[in-house]
């Protein structure tokens, strides 16, 4: 039996080819379009930037006159407290910040969707146990926990990604669970069951695809949260010392006293970069929410 059981129910599922029309709706939404454009700019910056303007962390200034230099033709965004080029450092930071944010979101979405689907599909004690765990992680303050874990397990990129990813899933799990609960009541799930489909097959064929469509908005907002979390952790001084992100740039700007010396070219760009990327994901995420819930429309 190779045909998609979900297709039998056709009309009742109300799932027309949504993906393309979603993107079109997003483009029609003024804020969504702004977000998409900002996203494209950030992606370009992170992918091409370090190739065109490679950052060499070892290339430190020769003498004290070369540190914290204001912007000039040689150094478009001046130099940092070690006399390195802030502009190429900024581009290298874009790559790390986006990479950590996306990877952490991937982990968080896999865990969240997994816990949510299993919990909502099997219900009963499985649901009780998983949701107690979810509620626990939902209320335990994330940043102190991330700081504790980061301080204990050391500072490298993988640890940071894992820590952020493992602490950002509870909301996704909650949303996926409630969607799964309502999906499993649908007729086509009952039909698939009566045709002898296994639980695994029903989840894979009839539940997961629909759930995935519904958590797009949430997932995009999670990226924004993960990028902010990385920036904050790195600012606290728990960033990977070998891989400079925007957050760790701000950490070094802060501890080296760049603010007191008025070196705005050092602490303005990374912050604006974080704002740009987080805002881009937030705008797109909220635009998706408006598409899913028309009552919220009228703001843009």
């Amino acid at each position: 039996m190779t045909f998609d059981l979900g297709a039998i129910d056709g009309g009742a599922v109300a799932a027309p080819p949504r993906r393309t029309s979603n993107l079109r709706l997003l483009w029609r939404d003024r804020l969504g379009r702004t977000g998409l454009i900002l996203l494209a700019i950030s992606a370009l910056m992170a992918i091409l930037g370090p190739i065109v303007f490679p950052f060499d962390p070892a290339q430190v200034g020769a003498n004290s006159a070369s540190i914290l230099q204001p912007p000039s033709l040689t150094y478009w965004l001046g130099t940092d407290e070690l006399g390195r080029d802030v502009f190429s450092e900024f581009l290298a930071g874009a790559r790390i910040s986006l990479f950590v944010g996306l990877m952490a979101t991937l982990i968080s979405t896999i865990i969240g969707a997994g816990v949510g689907v299993i919990s909502g599909y099997f219900m009963g004690p499985v649901d009780g146990g998983l949701m107690s765990m979810t509620d626990f992680f939902l209320v335990v303050p994330a940043l102190p926990l991330m700081i504790a874990l980061g301080a204990i397990f050391g500072q490298n990129l993988l640890i940071i990604i894992l820590v952020i990813g493992f602490l950002s899933w509870p909301r996704t799990a909650r949303i996926v669970r409630s969607q799964t609960l309502s999906l499993r009541q649908r007729q086509y799930v009952a039909r698939a069951k009566s045709l002898g489909a296994s639980d695994f097959r029903i989840i894979r064929k009839n539940i997961a695809p629909h759930v995935m469509q519904l958590i797009v908005a949430n997932t995009i907002l999670v990226v924004a949260g993960c990028i902010l979390a990385e920036a904050t952790l790195s600012f606290i001084g728990l960033g990977d010392p070998d891989r400079i992100s925007w957050g760790s740039m701000l950490h070094f700007a802060f501890v080296s006293g760049a603010i007191g010396r008025g070196a705005w070219w050092y602490f303005l760009p990374p912050g604006l970069g974080i704002l740009l990327v987080v805002l881009a994901f937030t705008l797109v995420g909220h635009a998706f929410e408006r598409i899913d819930n028309p009552r919220l429309r009228g703001s843009a």
Binding site: A142, I147, A148, L228, T232, L250, G271, I274, L275, L283
Partner: protein
């Protein structure tokens, strides 16, 4: 089982889970915690044994766990090796300072945020509504610590005029209580402003969304049919109902509030739990870090419990059932 008792039990279970989690976190540090504490590979066995006893790391794991719980029950949070003082004393002082900061900023954030949210939501589709939404989304996307850094630059370096560090002026002599309090008040301005700039946006967005949902309800149509004025409709009928989801959402805000406070305290050297946590990370002072994490988590669990009670009190519908 009565609902209240059930919630108290859940709270106790959560606190116990945090305690246990905390124990495993700091007692099963990868590698030997003693090596991390001593920051040296070469230690004579006698010194290692002494350090083990000092930090409660001797004996089997269940023994350590028992000792850990009994120490906690006696209010003994260990000894800070970077500050050379009992952690409980350090944390006590820091907690008070954090509470001052959080009380003032939360009051401002919640009141201003809800007011702006209702204002924007009741003018859905207008220019002032869309401006408010866009501004809120931009502000909510700002990293709190960076806003703090900008304010330090503006008010500490560029324009000047406001204190950018600490809770009081160093070596100040106060003639009376009022001077002392107003000095703290002046030091509170920038940290509070930082939290407000970022966090007000959260309540604006949540309140607006919730108000829009309520405005679409049938009873709002009835209210309009009765010929009620716009003001009465929005503030008396819609806002009251719209505030319920806002209370629920505040639970999520508590975690963001803690995160924001940590960052603000670091940037402005506000001597609270956040700065303490930062300093103990820098000094790798595990006993202090452990206590900070434990207390923050328990405080947040208790705050959640209270928010839940308030919610149940406000909305009679939820008391039935669970």
């Amino acid at each position: 089982m009565p609902p209240l008792l059930r919630r108290v039990l859940v709270l106790c279970a959560s606190i116990f889970a945090v305690l246990t989690f905390n124990f495993f976190l700091f007692h099963i540090i990868p590698g030997d915690p003693i090596r991390l504490i001593a920051r040296s590979q070469r230690l004579d066995p006698e010194a290692v044994a002494r350090l083990r006893t000092t930090y409660g790391l001797d004996g089997s794991l269940p023994e350590q766990y028992g000792k850990y719980l009994s120490n906690l029950a006696h209010g003994d949070l260990g000894y800070s090796f970077s500050l050379h003082e009992n952690v409980a004393d350090i944390v006590g002082r820091a907690l008070l300072n954090t509470l001052i900061l959080l009380t003032v900023s939360t009051l401002i954030v919640v009141i201003v945020g809800i007011a702006i949210g209702v204002f924007a939501g009741s003018r859905q589709g207008t220019r002032s509504d869309s401006t408010t939404v866009v501004t809120s989304l931009v502000f909510w996307s700002l990293p709190t610590f960076w806003v703090g850094m900008l304010l330090v630059f503006i008010f500490g370096v560029w324009i000047g005029g406001l204190p950018i560090s600490g809770i009081t002026t160093p070596n100040a002599v106060y003639g009376n209580w009022f001077q002392y309090i107003s000095d703290i008040g002046r030091h509170l301005i920038l940290p509070t402003l930082t939290l407000a700039i970022v966090d007000i946006a959260f309540f604006v967005i949540i309140t607006r969304t919730s108000l829009l949902e309520v405005m679409g309800e049938d009873y709002m149509l009835t209210a309009r049919g009765k010929g009620l004025s716009r003001r009465t409709m929005v503030w008396k009928h819609a806002t009251r109902n719209a505030l319920l989801p806002v209370v629920t959402a505040s639970v999520l805000y508590i975690s963001a509030l803690v995160a924001g406070a940590i960052q603000v305290e670091v940037v402005f050297s506000w001597p609270g739990m956040g700065l303490l946590m930062y300093n103990s990370v820098m000094a790798r002072d595990y006993p202090t870090l452990e206590a900070c994490f434990l207390l923050t988590s328990v405080a947040v669990l208790v705050a959640n419990f209270c928010a839940d009670l308030i919610y149940r009190r406000l909305d009679p519908r939820v008391t039935v059932g669970t």
